[in-house]
Symmetry: C2
Subunit: 273 residues, 2 copies
């Protein structure tokens, strides 16, 4: 039914194969024909970022982004300052790793009014941007599904992320489009068009029916109801020419043999992304 895609723009997030060490992930991705890797910070633990970046490139992979920065809102001024400092350190880590982009999960605090969290997010990003620019690293605001508005991100639509980018108007700031978070939005096509050249990354996975867990039950592309190819077309029409990044949190799939999982991903990507 669908054309088979080649793998030139296939990137995988290390969290998708969480049981693998970074070394093992790099080796397995390369063998599977994957071209890009987005590194999660937990996978970097215990590694010197510069050496890790070199190892990734030596294996023929491109570092697409570092996941993740953000989590700016906090109850106290001191904690907000610490969040900004932490994000500056993440910028340094990304620069050392050779990641051109940090994905921002902006944060939320249960019980803090969302309007206040949104203000603190804008302030936090603004405070990190000069350092990001100096380091040559971009920041990508990833709107998260509204079911994460309590504790993970108060930025829940692409319209909000676009507004934030317009407000801060900085060359090192853009948005990340993740189909899992945004597919339901009736304004999605229009907001992708509005985002245009500020789209810095494109994440794919699928929404299963039923979804058994709010966090750890994402589906492989084609397993659910998200019109991934349609959204990809909108994103490309808006000017995006980067990777399609497979980001799947799935307790069930973390339990399986990760080489088999990689085969499944490659197949699903070719058919449904």
């Amino acid at each position: 039914m669908n054309d088979r895609r080649d793998l030139e723009r296939l990137c995988i997030h290390t969290v998708t194969t969480k049981p693998l060490s970074l070394e093992k992930a790099v080796e397995s991705y390369g063998r599977a024909g994957v071209k890009g890797i987005t590194v999660w910070r937990d996978a970097l633990e215990g590694h010197e970022p510069r050496a890790a970046g070199r190892r990734i490139r030596d294996a023929g992979l491109e570092v697409v982004s570092l996941c993740r920065g953000g989590f700016f809102p906090a109850a106290s001024e001191a904690a907000r300052r610490e969040a900004v400092d932490e994000n500056r350190r993440i910028v340094d880590e990304a620069a050392a790793l050779g990641a051109p982009l940090i994905v921002l999960v902006c944060g939320a605090v249960p019980g803090m009014p969302l309007a206040e969290a949104r203000r603190q997010i804008a302030d936090g990003i603004a405070a990190v941007l000069p350092h990001a620019r100096e380091a040559g690293v971009a920041l990508g605001v990833e709107p998260l599904h509204p079911m994460y508005a309590d504790s993970r991100s108060a930025v829940n639509t692409l319209a909000q992320a676009n507004d934030l980018c317009r407000k801060l108007a900085h060359p090192s700031l853009g948005v990340v489009v993740d189909v899992y978070h945004l597919w339901w939005d009736p304004d999605l096509e229009r907001e992708i068009e509005r985002a245009g050249g500020s789209i810095l990354a494109f994440h794919v996975s699928d929404w299963k029916t039923p979804t058994e867990d709010l966090l750890l039950d994402r589906g492989l592309m084609g397993e659910g109801c998200i019109p991934i190819r349609g959204i990809r077309e909108w994103v490309e029409a808006a000017g995006f020419g980067g990777y399609n990044e497979v980001e799947i949190f799935s307790r069930r799939r973390w339990e399986m043999d990760q080489s088999e999982l990689l085969e499944e991903i490659v197949e699903a990507y070719q058919l449904h992304s």
Copy 2:
């Protein structure tokens, strides 16, 4: 901190105390000082609606609405016609029961493009409205949280529900504001204001952190992060003067003694609604 509210506008959905039969629910609500009841169709099964309505009113309770109609989108023309017929029967049931309102969970079909589902919803509602008007029953479009866009409702924001009402422009059509579904929306205050007099019902519960289940882990008011009183103020400023309806699906609370649950609800309502 908050003023204690009296119970004059407290309504409970039968699903909140799902283990209770309709008779038992009516008796227990009355004893707890609850003034209104929204009847779910599963609770009506095996009852003659007219007699059930009389029994509810004799117990001093007001029937606030019947839950639920809707589920209009379907793959075949025949199934869509059947959905419209079923909704007409629900209108008759509501009229017999003495319910002035049917809450519509509009429906969605996994894999059907949302734009198509949204068209079918508009067509389905339009086909039921004349019969509803004749019967003196209003239809209330309830936008559902985006996490239900796959299979329960393709109407996921109040903006969409407002647009639908504007498009169909019918005196028997309005919207239902449920804080659980809408609290995250950055446009909520504006859309409540736009809805104005078309707000037909107001549902309360709370969003827990963490939420363990997509469907059956709602919290009691005050247990989560939803600014219920703030949203209630917006709704009242828009002209709404009806009940605050407690609608909580909670596997854990269905397992407890339902009289104790009613006490908890009354207390939570007084403090946090």
